[in-house]
Amino acid sequence: MNENISSILKAVSKPGRYSGGEYGQIIKDKEKVKARFAFCFPDTYEIGMSNLGVRILYGVLNNEDDVWCERVYTPWVDMQEEMKKHGIPLTACESGDPLTAFDMIGFTLQYEMSYTNVLNMLDLAGLPLRSCDRDDSMPIIIGGGPCAYNPEPVADFFDLFNIGEGEEMLPELCRLYIKMKEEGSYTKEAYLHEAARSIEGIYVPSFYEVSYNEDGTIKAYTPKYDDIPTSIKKRIMTDMDKSYFPDKVVMPYIETVHDRIMLEVFRGCIRGCRFCQAGIIYRPVREKSPEVLNSQARCLFESTGYDEISLTSLSISDYTQLEELTDMLLEWTDENMVSLSLPSLRVDSFTKELMDKIASVRSSSLTFAPEAGSQRLRDVINKNVTEEDLLRAVNVAFEAGKNMVKLYFMQGLPTETYEDIEGIAILASHVIDAYYKCPTRNKAKKPQVTISVACFIPKPFTPFQWEAQDTLEMLAEKQEFLGSKITDRKIKFNHHDAKVSRIEAVLARGDRRLSDALELACREGFKFDAWDEYFDYDKWISVLERTGADPAFYANRAFGLDEVLPWDIIDCGVTKEFLRRERDKAYAENTTPNCREKCSGCGANRLGGERTCCPKLSKTEN
């Protein structure tokens, strides 16, 4: 099936994205394997190769002797043009075979704006977009990842979704497929039914009929069979020390976004910021022990030769044994010229001791995320950091000779006032003042504070899932207001494009009726909508309108507290009652202690888990 496409590769940008042949790629005899799995990341090679989840699941699937998992990424626009022009279908990196040659195709759904790339890839593969148009001879299309917690906008395109962590689910799906093929009992319908019935965490959207109320809200989800779950509970790996860990990875030749060892320290987050979806859907917190992590890091250094280890987890400084871990790592990383880096730091945990151990903070710039400009609003979102914490953290940095600080904020948060927004400018100026007050600062340099302001997007499974997003006009007005409050040239102000955030909100809280809009978007050539240069707001509004979808219904409407939400069919472990309580506390400007201080009874502990901070007793009712 491998055609000579060298002429095309020589004509496109970054051909190393498509040529394969990397050290560490897994090649199997396709005559001997019983199931071929194409793992698709719906974005460029450089982004997809950086994803830890893909690295893990590629290893998990290839651990099955009779399964061959290969990688597929979205070809860049210039390559797509060549493919279309010369009738070249989308192929997998390892074998170069077209996607139609596979038994199963999995897509990881990491962000809503990649949905158009999913459809674009199915189209490039020559496969019908909708599940109902694909017959028994075609590959089973599987979705997973964080966006699968509300899969409804793309429900009609997928045959099934994995809800939760895939390390066990994906091999189980392959085993079932192989078994039914060998028995001769395989039909697409029978396979999907058996998967929905017997494998926990599997959601087959076509098996649930959705009815609607007159006002357009959802009335009910009705299962088509009585032996499939009425609510799909997410799967988790209970013991992270025993969970599969990829001891080698495919080494990209071309530079990727995260071109380093990614050491997953724990899953989940103890914090519970009220806008944050990741902080809820990955609960409960499950840590790995420092001995296991050290051993895994050594193993990866030996098999990859990377000279940087990034400790990746949400809010990494919340790891209970961070000091033990970094000490163990430093015992061998220094002599091997391997540096450590941390992706994000909370201001309340940033210390000089930590900074000295971490290479990423050796650069002149540090990043913190206060998220809101006033203490009132930080309480509303349950950020649980104070201005004092921030000033103490930047002081540590300034004392060490740094002069640049990046601060992340959000605008359009529930209950936000102009006073809160002005607070962003004031906070930034206080950071500048702190620089000049620091006696050991680098006197040769001027301070620089960059503030990046994102737009609030209400996300499923957060306490703010019911909230209305500010209208475009409101967001623009607030951006302009903040700009006018920043007069100091030492403060740089960036803000996200509110138009992208609005479409993201539509897709995040969307339901099945959006599939028509997404199909039309694909037909009209939408792709790479997560890339500023390809996102076109007016075209999005046009496809939504032409398919009868009102963007304001999804983005700017306050969802009713008693309303059936599109994602109510999914059970992420955390209860709706908890989210509701958190919402009430937000409006009362009350904070919630983190999981380690006190259990607030979110419900995630019923999923189990080792080395968690959840009490063993179920406390789901308050």
């Binding site: 055609e3 000579n4 496409i5 060298s6 002429s7 095309i8 590769l9 020589k10 004509a11 051909p15 190393g16 498509y18 040529s19 394969g20 042949g21 050290y23 060549e82 010369h86 070249i88 020390d241 025993k242 860990f245 001891d247 080494m251 030749y253 071309i254 530079e255 071109d259 001995e291 296991v292 051993s295 895994q296 050594r298 193993c299 250094f301 030996e302 098999s303 990859t304 030769g305 990377y306 000279d307 061998w332 002599e335 091997n336 010229m337």
Partner: protein
């Protein structure tokens, strides 16, 4: 579960290597390597990063630059453009512990692939600046390939002047590429139906002819390689680099 994480003992190996007798000053070792197949699409910059990792995996006792940001010192010979393969690339590394060239080669090859591997490791007695010429084998699969086409190609590429625009740091300038060609023959291979070109062209740091230029000249003057790209294509293989006196560079 700890036992299931497979350590392959490289860290211990690295410690053993670092305990070997120290070399002062560090010793330069030259590596000759192949970069063929899919590796032709990997740029020079990407190659540098890749070698860093290979050297780490191979536990070589490489010397690190001193200073704020210590790094491995890698010096490559004439860069190869993306889309060209080679069996004669050179890289100088420095080691500061005793290790034989043969062992360095074997250790590196254990971490490389069938498209990208070391063919020789030795102590160099020449400088990369001595490279003056490079020879290429170019194979062209195109509609209308024939002995006549081969003759036309040879005539075109050996008849001065053949002016082409060359982009350099100082902007664009027009050059006669024939003056940068030492020798060139084009033949038609009946068994494959390809036109094969053997060319030796300038490859010094001050005067360098990208072999792609030969293809570009053929495309625009003989109207070849313009059809279905799945059926018409070409490959470029650098076979040898030469000194000014036309002896092989080592």
């Amino acid at each position: 579960m700890l036992s299931e994480v497979k350590q392959n003992g490289k860290l211990n190996e690295k410690r053993r290597v670092l305990a070997l007798p120290e070399l002062t000053p560090p010793r330069t070792v030259r590596l000759k390597f192949c970069k063929v197949g899919t590796l032709q699409y990997i740029s020079h910059l990407d190659l540098q990063r890749t070698f860093n990792r290979i050297i780490n995996r191979a536990c070589l006792p490489v010397w690190y630059t001193k200073g704020f940001n210590p790094h491995i010192k890698l010096v490559f010979s004439t860069p190869l453009s993306v889309g060209a393969q080679s069996v004669c690339e050179y890289l100088d590394i420095r080691i500061d512990r005793e290790m034989s060239c043969e062992e360095i080669k074997d250790r590196l090859n254990a971490e490389m692939t069938s498209e990208f591997y070391i063919t020789e490791a030795y102590l160099p007695s020449s400088d990369f600046s001595e490279i003056a010429w490079a020879s290429y084998d170019i194979s062209i699969t195109t509609g209308g390939a024939s002995a006549e086409l081969a003759a036309k190609a040879e005539k075109l590429l050996t008849t001065s002047p053949l002016m082409m625009i060359k982009k350099g740091k100082a902007g664009e300038k027009e050059v006669d590429i024939v003056k940068m060609i030492h020798s060139l023959t084009a033949t038609f291979d009946e068994s494959t139906g390809n036109v094969n070109i053997k060319a030796t062209v300038r490859a010094s740091s001050t005067e360098y002819l990208n072999p792609e230029f030969l293809i570009t000249a053929l495309k625009s003057n003989l109207s070849i390689l313009g059809g279905d790209p799945k059926k018409e294509y070409y490959s470029i293989m650098r076979t040898v680099t030469l000194k000014e006196d036309m002896t092989e560079f080592r």
